[in-house]
């Protein structure tokens, strides 16, 4: 095979870096040379991240990043709305996106193929957490043929400990079966990616992060005692208690769930976002 280059788009915490590692190991188990490249910056749970994987038949010489990928894998349904995930994608390339909706609803269009898989649903049902990396790899194995499902499962066993490996393998298998057939995306309607600008800046460096959420906290004002515990722990300073009761500024809430964990009076609910609602 010619050199295959894949770009992964994810969010901090979804396991994009682990995904490229597992993919590289799995392809290597089939005798191929590989590279798994994480892009490190200032890591922050929920922030958009990219990682790359190269697969070839000889030792890979290129040490730069992947700029013209053969395939793009998107681990989060809402990423496409703020990041141009198809940038540089080769003609006739493949986009595999974690999305619960139809091809049209992905907002992706162009001279490439697109396949969808509801990896968040699979991850929640098999792992109990919205870590979508292993599920999406199962889907990738199906739509690209690389690597074989068995190699992928062996690589997962090498990478992750016992019981965790088994639940991830279950996620991989389900996604392998449930992924949609790739279709030509040239007939779809493109939704331009754009970064939403928050109406009122909270603090100078903060950015609008509402589309990072998979789960959404909600405060029950009746139960809230105004103890300020959530206010202390919120890493995004998205909670306001000036009115004696906690109030969440959803533009700045990334859905990390720390407030839900810390609330001692059970005044915070933490429920799955409906895709596209934020």
């Amino acid at each position: 095979m010619a050199l295959m280059e894949i770009r992964f788009h994810g969010r901090g915490g979804q396991g994009a870096v682990t995904a490229v590692r597992i993919l590289a190991s799995a392809a290597h188990l089939e005798g191929r040379y590989t590279q798994a490249i994480p892009m490190y910056g200032t890591e922050r749970r929920g922030a958009p991240v990219v990682a790359f994987c190269r697969i070839g038949d000889t030792r890979i010489k290129e040490r730069d990043l992947v700029h013209e990928p053969d395939a793009v894998v998107v681990l989060d349904p809402l990423l496409g709305k703020t990041v141009n995930v198809t940038e540089g994608l080769k003609e006739g390339g493949l986009v595999l996106i974690n999305h619960p909706g139809t091809y049209e609803e992905t907002g992706l269009a162009g001279s490439f193929k697109v396949a969808t898989i509801d990896a968040t649903k699979i991850a929640l049902e098999t792992l109990g957490r919205p870590i979508t990396n292993t599920a999406i790899l199962g889907a990738f194995a199906k739509v690209s043929g690389i690597p074989r499902l068995e190699s992928l499962q062996e690589a997962i066993r090498n990478e992750l400990p016992g019981a965790i490996a088994e639940s991830n393998i279950a996620a991989t298998r389900r996604a392998f079966e449930e992924v949609s057939q790739p279709i030509d995306a040239s007939g779809l309607t493109k939704v331009e990616s754009k970064r939403r600008v928050a109406p009122k800046p909270l603090i100078s460096y903060s950015k609008e992060v509402s589309d990072w959420r998979v789960f959404r906290p909600a405060i029950n004002k009746e139960a809230c005692t105004g103890c300020m515990r959530c206010w202390i722990y919120c890493p995004e300073t998205a909670i306001d208690v000036t009115s004696e009761k906690a109030e969440i500024d959803y533009d700045y809430c990334k859905g990390c769930g720390i407030c839900f964990e810390e609330c001692k009076v059970g005044a915070i609910k933490f429920e799955k976002e409906e895709a596209g609602t934020s």
Binding site: T34, Q35, A36, P38, R63
Partner: protein
């Protein structure tokens, strides 16, 4: 022999384990940190029987390695960027006391957290051997070779081997792990010249007792190794006896020059045993009938191979010189290459501010004595971790090739 997909930092840890280093002292610093983590795991779970010394900083890390090495330990440390600069003074000590310490340097820029070679280049004159690696396999192989080179009795000098931060340290790729028994054959146990308990300890002790019993005092010269000229660098016993006080520098320079031969021999023997060698001091890649050559170190050399492949496929007579050993510098090799090419384009991932590219200057100096000198052009690339793409090197190679055919270039040194 098995093969595993691993990051560069893990390849370093495996090299240290296979080399059976038994003294490790290192202080964590990004992007070197995981080397320390992997090694402490190896030591904690009993895979690597070594003394792991927790230190409070890089100066201590280097001093622990230096002292341990004199006493007979095979010592290892690793650092990056600011940690390496903080260690600077003690590096001189390790080299002048001829301690064969091996150090992994995960290159980190002194201006950002991203990779360039400014950190190790700042240690240019410390008297260490400096080797640069382009992929994780070379990192593992070089780590093992480094001990063999350092401990060679003809030189006994410390070795620093470098891998670009992030680009290698955190990038995973397949690495073949050599079998322990073959490594053991290649790398026999280390024997210090000056162990804590030398074989002639009892005899020396008797001499020492006699020295005191004869009524001689602490100011009378006495050393258990009095006959050993080179030991005086530890005791300073020969000071004031008409010695040229420059002798340490002279000895060090001669030893560094001799190290070239040792590096080549070790590389060849490694190749015979493990099937992989790296050309000794430098590797010429597709240089046959080349009119121009590009020089690169570290991961840029790897990316450059892809660029040279493309240009060669288009019929352009340009090759790559992968410079592995920066200190000692392969002067003779560059003179030989300088006779066959018309232009050399040197990529520097560092800069000596106020003059220019360090490798650029060294190569110009090396070819100066040739009756017909090639053109030497400088390029700055990848500083502060700026990405170096295949097309950047194609551009460098094509410009150098144009200059080789007599076309005028706008400047001698160019920023990419």
């Amino acid at each position: 022999m098995k093969s595993e997909v691993m990051v560069g930092n893990k390849a370093v840890a495996y090299a240290v384990k296979l080399a059976r280093a038994n003294l490790i002292a290192a202080y964590p610093v990004t992007p070197q940190t995981t080397i320390v983590e992997y090694l402490s795991e190896f030591v904690a779970n009993g895979e690597l029987p070594a003394e792991f010394v927790n230190v409070e900083g890089e100066i201590t890390a280097q001093l622990v390695c230096m002292a341990g090495s004199i006493a007979g330990a095979r010592a290892f440390t690793a650092t990056s960027g600011p940690g390496l600069v903080y260690m600077h003074d003690t590096l001189h000590g390790t080299a002048r006391y001829r301690c064969p310490v091996v150090m992994a340097v995960v290159n980190r820029s002194l201006r950002t957290m991203q990779p360039d070679h400014t950190d190790l280049m700042a240690q240019r004159d410390t008297g260490w051997i400096h080797l640069y690696c382009e992929n994780n396999q070379e990192v593992l192989d070089t780590g093992i070779m480094a001990y063999r080179i350092a401990e060679d009795e003809r030189i006994r000098l410390p070795v620093a081997f470098a891998l670009d931060g992030y680009v290698l340290s955190y990038t995973a790729e397949p690495v073949e792990i050599p079998d322990q028994d073959v490594v053991d054959k290649f790398l026999p146990p280390y024997k210090s010249f000056y162990p804590v308990l030398p074989e002639n300890f009892d005899a020396e002790l008797e001499k020492y007792k006699k020295h005191w019993s004869e009524g001689r005092g602490i100011n009378d010269s006495f050393t258990p190794f009095a006959a050993d000229e080179s030991f005086s660098h530890l005791t300073m016993a020969n000071w004031g006896k008409g010695h040229d006080i420059q002798w340490r520098w002279k000895w060090h320079q001669e030893t560094m020059m001799n190290a070239k031969q040792v590096i080549k021999e070790v590389d060849m023997e490694y190749g015979k045993l493990f099937g992989r060698s790296y050309g000794g001091l430098l590797e010429e890649y597709r240089c046959e009938d080349a009119v121009a050559a590009v020089v690169a170190m570290g991961t840029i050399a790897s990316t450059a191979r892809a660029a040279i492949d493309k240009l060669r496929n288009d019929g352009k007579p340009v090759g790559l010189i992968k410079l592995k050993s920066f200190r000692p510098f392969p002067i003779e090799e560059f003179q030989r290459i300088g006779r066959s090419v018309k232009a050399i384009g040197v990529i520097d991932r560092s800069i000596s501010l106020g003059e220019g590219g360090v490798v650029f200057g060294s190569i110009r100096s090396a070819v100066y004595d040739l009756p017909e000198r090639p053109l030497v052009l400088g390029y700055y690339a990848g500083l502060s971790g700026k990405e170096v793409r295949v097309r950047d090197i194609e551009q460098i190679a094509e410009r150098t090739l144009k200059a080789a055919s007599g076309e005028k270039v706008d400047s001698l040194a160019k920023w990419i």
